[in-house]
């Protein structure tokens, strides 16, 4: 599973992109975040305000109940500020 981090998620985790094996118990975005924040304080800090976490699965903006699979591309980012 490929995970991308943008904006302050990249800065706080110090990771732009990583590939991980699908962990046990991770079935959807919500449980993936639960698993990530257990890694270390940087991840816990990046995801502390879940209301402002936006996520895309395979480049489509989705909700936290979206299932995730081993070959998905997941991306975490804050609310968009383009234009």
């Amino acid at each position: 599973m490929k995970i991308l981090y943008f904006a302050h998620f990249r800065e706080k985790t110090n990771i732009a992109e990583e590939t991980i094996d699908l962990p046990n118990d991770v079935t959807n975005v919500e449980t993936l975040i639960d698993w990530l924040v257990e890694r270390n304080d940087s991840f816990a800090d990046a995801f502390v305000d879940r209301e402002h976490v936006r996520v895309a699965v395979n480049q489509e903006h989705v909700e936290f109940d979206m299932p995730v699979k081993v070959d998905d591309e997941i991306a975490f980012f804050p609310p968009m500020t383009g234009g």
């Binding site: 991308l4 943008f6 904006a7 302050h8 895309a56 480049q59 489509e60 903006h61 991306a75 980012f77 804050p78 609310p79 968009m80 500020t81 383009g82 234009g83």
Partner: protein, 150 residues
């Protein structure tokens, strides 16, 4: 219908002219250019860096432009969105829509820019005297985008 996500600056006049050339059904062309402002929420901005999610951006922009074409009788449309570092007065984004009638051109242009502000995966980081800061999303932009919900 054209989408460009690019680092380099653009020539709005040239793009508008090229878009409308030879299409004699066009009666009105609306365009919007977004620029880096020096003053943002009280502090002075030295520069701004736009980060984006390459791949998703293009995919999302193609979709939203298709939606605009579904909703309005457009003859032509163009979106250019830059990423990278820009200083005040630099151009960030260009949206151009052309139609037989002006109402469709204005509405679709505003729809596209409202959408870009809230749904396209771009993030702005500002350099101010206080340091670098990620620009916060604004509720007013969400409201502007929401009014286009069918």
């Amino acid at each position: 219908m054209t989408i460009c996500i690019q680092k380099q600056d653009f020539d709005a006049g040239y793009e508008i002219k090229r878009l409308c050339a030879k299409n004699t059904n066009i009666g009105g062309v609306c365009s919007f250019i977004g620029l880096v402002r020096e003053t943002q929420s009280g502090s002075s901005v030295k520069a701004m860096t736009l980060e984006h999610y390459a791949g998703m951006t293009e995919k999302q922009l193609v979709k939203i432009e298709e939606e605009a074409l579904d909703r309005w009788p457009l003859e032509e449309s163009l979106i250019i969105h830059r990423y990278g570092r820009m200083v005040p007065s630099e151009q960030i984004v260009l949206v151009v829509t052309a139609s037989a009638h002006r109402k469709a051109a204005f509405e679709s242009c505003e729809f596209l820019i409202d959408w870009l502000k809230t749904k396209a995966p771009f993030w702005k980081n500002e350099e101010t005297p206080k340091g670098k800061e990620w620009v916060q999303a604004r509720a007013s932009d969400d409201m502007a985008a929401d009014r286009w919900q069918k």
